[in-house]
Assembly symmetry: C2
Homo-oligomer: 364 residues x 2
Amino acid sequence: MNKDYYVVIMAGGIGTRFWPMSTVACPKQFIDVMGVGKTLLQQTFARFANFCPPENILVVTGMAYRDLVLAQLPEIKPENVLCEPHRKNTAPCIAYANYKIHAVNPNATVVVAPADHVVLKEDVFSRVIEEAAEKASQNDWLITLGITPSYPNTGYGYIQFDSSKEIDPACPSLRKVKLFTEKPEFEMARTFVESGEFLWNAGLFIWSLKSAMKAFKEHLPEVDELFASGVGKYNTPQEAEYIQKVYLVCKGISVDYGVMEKARNVYVMAADFGWSDVGTWGSLYELRPKNADENTLVGKNIFTYDTHGCIVNAPKDKVVVLQGLEDCIVVETAHSLLVCKRDQEQMLRRIVSDVSEKAGEKYV
Amino acid sequence: MNKDYYVVIMAGGIGTRFWPMSTVACPKQFIDVMGVGKTLLQQTFARFANFCPPENILVVTGMAYRDLVLAQLPEIKPENVLCEPHRKNTAPCIAYANYKIHAVNPNATVVVAPADHVVLKEDVFSRVIEEAAEKASQNDWLITLGITPSYPNTGYGYIQFDSSKEIDPACPSLRKVKLFTEKPEFEMARTFVESGEFLWNAGLFIWSLKSAMKAFKEHLPEVDELFASGVGKYNTPQEAEYIQKVYLVCKGISVDYGVMEKARNVYVMAADFGWSDVGTWGSLYELRPKNADENTLVGKNIFTYDTHGCIVNAPKDKVVVLQGLEDCIVVETAHSLLVCKRDQEQMLRRIVSDVSEKAGEKYV
C-alpha cells in the first residue's frame, strides 16, 4: 500500500431520481440500493481498502450529511470528512480536497471517485486504479477512466480518445483524450459506440496532486485562488470559517467543464469493471439479480403472486404483498410509498414536484 | 326516547378479509373503513343515539378489545362493555346480554345489531327500528330485519317470508318468516331474488327481553341454563369470574341456527336502508364514493397518475403515489402493504395465511 496514494470520495449529491428510496435528507449514496447490506458510500470506501491507508481517504459532502458519513464509515477520522457549506459542483469540491491533502502531503497521487456509482467487478477495478495511479504518479497527466460502452446509453457523457497512437506500449488501454461530450441523442450515441473511439465518462479521475493543482491554477484560476488564499488554515481551527466564506463566493462548476475539457494533458484509461452510475430505476433493475419471476426484491418480508418484472424496495420490518403487478417499481419507506410502471419512471420528476408542493418538502 | 329500549352491539368479530387494514389486533368494526372519520363501531353506536339512552347501549366484545371499545366510545360506561372470554358465535353473546339487561330491567325491548355493518340511509334505518321495537314491545314476536335484495348476492344468507298474508295492516312490511337459508349459489340466489319472497338476512334482531329469553330457554336450553345459573351475579363483582367459567364450557352456536330457525314466532320486517355487511373489498369499493377516475381514496396524501378503479387506504401521514394501476386494492398500514387486483381478492385468505406463517402472526 502506497502512503502517497490518496482517495477523494465525492458524496455531496442530493438526487431524487430514486424517490422515495432516496430523499434530500438521505440521498442515494447513503442507501443500500443494491440490497447487499452496504450503502453505495460504504461500497465505494471499501473498494479502496487495499489501495491506500484509510487515513488517506477523504469524503467530501454537504454539511447536512456529515453525521450520515460518520455513522456509515466508522473507520473514517472525523477530520477526513470535508463539509461543503454549499453545493458548487465538482470543481470546488476537488480544489478543496487538493489543498487539504497538499497541507499534509504535496507528493500525493489522488484518485477522485463519486460515492454513488456501482462497480460489479471489484478486482478489475482495483487493478485499473493501481495501474492508473502508477502512471499518474510518474507523469504530468490528468487521467480519467473511460468505460468501454456496451450499448448506446444516452444517459452518460462520452469521451473520445485518439485511436491513432498508443501512449505506453505497456498500457495499451491508455490513450490521449480528443473530446469530452455531453449526453448524446440516441443516434449520436449509436455512432459513438460503433466508432470504437468513444468511452463512457465514469467521472473517475487519477492524477498527481501537483498536476491537478497546476491544472486548476491554469484553467480555473478564480476557483484556485479562493482556496490558495487559505493555505495555512487547512487542518487548523480556522479552516471551517474560511471555507464558509470561500463557498459563499465561489462559482459552481464541474471539473469536466472547468478543467478536463480545457487541459491538453488529459488521458483516458479504457476499462470494463461492470460500472454504472445507477442513475435511474431502470438501470438499477438491470444491475440487480432477479428471481425466476424477473423480480428483484430488497426487503425481508416481500410476498409476490402473479407478479413479474418488478423492482421492489421495502424496509426490513414491513410486510409487502404484491399481486398481479407487471413491470413496476414498488418502493416503500417510512414516509412514502411509490408504485410506478418501470417504463414510466420519467414521471418521477413531476411526481416528486407534486409531492413536495402538496404534501410538503419533508417527503422528498 | 323509551327508557325500556336497549341495544346490544355485537363487536367481537376478528375477520381478516380486510387485511392489512383489519387485523386480529384491530378488526374491521374498529376501523374507519368508509373513510368518514368514524369507525364502524362508532357509526353503529351513533345510529342508536335517538333510539334509547346511551346507558342502555351494551357492547359485547372480546376481552382483548375492551380498551379499543372504551377508547372509541367515550360515551359508554365501562360496565356496559361486556367482555367474552372466548369467541362462541352469536347465541351465547346474546344470552349473556339478555341476562345482564334482565338484572336491571325485565321489561326491556332489545335491538341486537352487529358492530361492523354499513347503513347508508340512517333516517330510514331509525324509522324501521322504531317501528320494529314498538311491535316487539307489544307482541311475543322475534323480529328480524330483511333487506330487499337488489341483486343475487351470494355472500348473504336469505330469509323467505310468507307472502300470503299480512300480519298487521298498519305495517305491511312485517311478515311471518318461512325459512332461513345459508349463502346460496348464484343460480339459487337469482331464483330467490326473482321470486320476490326472499330478503337478505341483515343479522339485526328486535324483540322483547321476555320473548327472547323464552325462546332461548325453549330452543337452546343448554346455553340458557349456563347463563341462568348466574342470576344474582350479573352486575356484581362475581360476574367476571362466573362468565369466565361459563364460556369455558358453553358451546359456540349462532342465534340464527340455535334459535331463529327453530322458533315459530319469527317475523321479518322488510326494509331498504342502504345496508351492507361490507364483507369484502369489492363491496367496500361499491359502497364508497368514487372520483372521476373511479378511484376511492382514503388518506390525506394519495397521488394518482393513470390510475383507475382502485380502492386505496393509507394512513394520514403517509404519501402514497400510484402510477399506472388499474382496478387494484392498495392498502398501506404501519406494518404492511397490500397491492392486489380487485378481482383477485379471494386470494387474500391464502395471502394472510402465507404472511402469518412466514412473517409472523403479529402481521395479521
